[in-house]
């Protein structure tokens, strides 16, 4: 009895932490997709490079973890700017070019990580040490810090989009690009912002994942896939949808492996996606 309660609580904490990471990735993906109209398939690699940058900053330069995360977010934001201007803007509107470029970028960044850091798993310092005790069960504190960071960033993004002129301009561009241009909103100003914010959020997600679990050059694949599923379940361009779907997927990923084998674990989320889409083709929070 003791052990099973402990398993469940740990699974929930793990799931919520994972959900938080998925949300950070999905928010960026959905922002980039709805504003720039591109599927950024290399977004998981931004997450991975963001994590390795934190590893480098903490292990080689001795910078403290939280400062390193902020630096990595800033650096990845800048890389986002460069990618938007140099790669994605020139192939705007050409679906095949965007996909090709994104896959090329994935291969390049992943090979770079392998060459630079090797295939060994690396770790960065913990977000927090020690545990919190619930019903006599100890749950590692870093899971809660991860949830808090993801929640704080989601709220900050929401406030930015809702309360500021540039945030509103992003909504406008996403909902009616040509209407936005007629109101004087320049997409070449708004798209880089979307890319920058998306990449910074991904870097934060990668760093947190690296701190809770570990770093590998392929660590970006899972959150990318989860991010895409979240966009589909939550509804295209819906922030609240992404958050609800992210928590849901994270919890499933945390809890299902405790009770079921690996087959169910990997199939269940997809089955649920299919069921949701059968009932609501536009996603849970999608607009018509």
């Amino acid at each position: 009895m003791e052990t099973s309660l402990s398993f469940v609580l740990q699974a929930i904490a793990n799931g919520l932490a994972m959900g938080g990471l998925y949300i950070l990735v999905a928010l960026g993906l959905t922002l980039i997709l709805s504003i720039m109209g591109i599927l950024q398939l290399a977004h998981g690699e931004i997450y991975m490079i963001g994590a390795y940058l934190v590893y480098y900053l903490t292990s080689s330069l001795g910078i403290s973890l939280y400062i390193a995360i902020l630096i990595s977010m800033g650096a990845m934001g800048l890389i986002g700017l460069v990618l938007e201007r140099g790669i994605f803007r020139p192939c705007k509107g050409d679906f095949l070019s965007v996909i090709t470029v994104a896959i090329a970028l994935t291969l390049i960044l992943r090979s770079y990580a392998v060459a630079q850091f090797g295939l060994f798993e690396r770790t960065v310092p913990k977000l927090a040490s020690g545990s919190l005790v619930f019903f006599g069960v100890a749950v590692p504190k870093d899971r809660f810090v991860a949830m808090l960071i993801a929640a704080a960033m989601s709220v900050a993004l929401y406030l930015f989009l809702k309360m500021t002129r540039y945030g509103q301009a992003m909504f406008a561009c996403a909902q009616n690009p040509e209407g936005a241009r007629l109101r004087g909103i320049n997409p070449d100003l708004i798209s880089p912002m979307a890319m920058m914010i998306g990449c910074a959020l991904a870097a934060a997600g990668g760093a947190i994942a690296g701190s809770i679990w570990m770093l590998t050059p392929t660590m970006g694949t899972l959150p990318l896939v989860k991010g895409l599923i979240i966009i589909v379940i939550g509804g295209m361009g819906s922030l609240s949808g992404a958050i609800v779907a992210g928590i849901f997927l994270g919890l499933m990923d945390g809890i299902i492996p405790v009770f079921f084998g690996p087959v169910v674990t990997s199939i269940a989320p997809l089955v649920i996606v299919v069921l949701i889409l059968l009932v609501k083709p536009q996603g849970l929070f999608g607009h018509g």
Partner: protein, 235 residues
Amino acid sequence: MLFQVKNLVVRYEGAEILKGISLEMEEGEIITLIGNNGAGKTTALRAISGLKSPHSGEILFRGQRIDNLLPQDIVKRGISQVPEGRALFPHMSVSENIRISGFLRNDKQGIKEDLDRIYDSFPVLKERSAQRASTLSGGEQQMLAIAMALMARPTLLLLDEPSTGLSPKMVTEIGRVIYNIHKSGTSVLLVEQNANLALSLAQRGYAIETGKIVLSGFAGELKKSEHVKRAYLGQ
């Protein structure tokens, strides 16, 4: 001369949609461009607003070429469009739609005053200020679209078929709104299929057929023209 279009040619995929149209207006005028479906009216407005670059010809505003400018720079110069289909931001609230339309402005106080003025002239928008734009009726959406274009404080307002899809009562209401906008000092270029409404509001008019201006003159004269009666007024 406030505004001038000279020999404007616009092509889509090689097809010449506008075959060299010219029109002009003085400051404070209200003019109309009438024409049937597919004549090229929307294409002309898209070119003026910078959404579609012309193949050749010139567009001048206050004597300066604007045909190579980006949409936001054209808005900054004082030309604002109420496009066909209204182009609202459907999932944003009515007040968010209006506020974001002042994107290029930095005068917070002025934006606030304009918002109040808009709510005075369109009480229904005030009532619905917290609703999503997509929940408005057709007439209300058209009011919102006009309010949004006004947030740029335009010298020249372009309207693309504002009466389309509205009930006769609503058409009269929109007509009154356009009349008031012009009376308050804004120059207006009204594009319409509804020649009746257009020629009763406008001082002068142009008729466009398959990309060419075929007639122009004072509204009163156009109304009496046999061609206009036959082609546009259904008489």
